[in-house]
Symmetry: C2
Subunit: 211 residues, 2 copies
């Protein structure tokens, strides 16, 4: 089945008052959100101006009020994701608690935040799949990963680990969050809570000398 066959057919709405009103109120953010939805549900190849215009019941032409071209839209999809899922997220975590150990606990609990976490995990998986064969997406994902690890590394330095070890532990903490999001069907809720507590404790426990 080709991409175009899979789209629901809709009656033309160009000439109705409702569609005209909708077109006028369509913000760039609405296009970015629609593009993100299509990316998650059907992959990057389906994120095309014609598909999105159809989804939003507007003409293709209205797209160009906000974006130069598809590339411009994709760049803004990545930028919006970065703002929301990295910058705003770490700012919120910093504000919620001044204590580094409490912030680390909040980081480790991110995969457990219900539907918002599941949605974020779906978006990230779609972005990582895209990044495997696209340099612009690769750069955005790498920057987000590095920025989050920097944040966690800072917490672990505050807790008392030196630079190199703090960075190694930050990778473990971040890797756990990524894996927990990806493997969310593994284990019951109590099992998941128990392994989160174990990670939290192990991450803050100094290494004993080898026996």
């Amino acid at each position: 089945m080709s991409a175009s066959e899979s789209l629901p057919r809709r009656a033309p709405t160009r000439t109705t008052a409702a569609a005209a009103a909708r077109r006028e109120t369509l913000t760039p953010e609405r296009w970015i959100q629609a593009a993100t939805d299509v990316l998650v549900d059907r992959g990057i190849d389906n994120v095309r101006v014609d598909v999105l215009a159809n989804e939003l019941s507007v003409t293709r032409g209205s797209f160009y009020w906000h974006f130069r071209d598809r590339e411009d839209l994709l760049r803004q999809v990545l930028q919006a994701w970065r703002d929301r899922a990295t910058e705003q997220l770490t700012a919120r975590l910093r504000q919620a608690n001044r204590d580094a150990r409490a912030q680390l606990r909040d980081v480790l609990s991110l995969p457990f935040r219900g539907r918002a976490a599941a949605r974020a995990a779906r978006i990230e998986l779609a972005l990582r799949a895209w990044a495997r064969h696209d340099a612009m997406a690769r750069e955005a994902v790498d920057q987000a990963d590095a920025s989050r690890i920097d944040y966690i590394c800072g917490l672990l330095e505050t807790i008392g680990f030196d630079g190199a070890e703090a960075r190694q532990r930050a990778f473990l903490a971040y890797g756990y969050v990524v894996a927990e999001s990806l493997l969310s069907t593994l284990g019951s809720a109590p099992e998941r809570a128990a392994r989160r507590r174990l990670v939290e404790a192990l991450l803050q426990q100094a290494l004993r000398a080898p026996q």
Copy 2:
């Protein structure tokens, strides 16, 4: 660009002797491999009989010598992946070392095995993206995850952790391997080696009582 536009156009090869010979020697495994390649490079929507026949320079009809339909092919793609990336892998790990600690070290080093590891990571990411909206793929991925964690859990029980804690630690070990495969651009080779040694040590270190 639609899926069909992105395919390279090839001259018809039906009538050439070379194509006839190729068609006769095409095994089911070759179709499964081609399907896996297309899945990884272009996503599940492009894994279609016409696309694969084009890739392999054979007629669509020859597909039906080996498979009932597309669904049958997809089931065998998943089965082949499961055999190779879970059953054969754990059997090899068990045979390479009798010692549980050495086997655990081998598990943690899987993401570092060069091109084979990178290829395996690309396949798994594509399968996980597919599994987000397909029940058959979801079941295959979940079973593989559970089976690998069972294997690691057995190692940690042998090392001396009790059932529940062994399972929690097995998740951490597996989560680390998944994350290291997914985040392979993060950190230099020495940094990656250092964090692997840290995980290996932390995983085998008993928890201290909370302070």
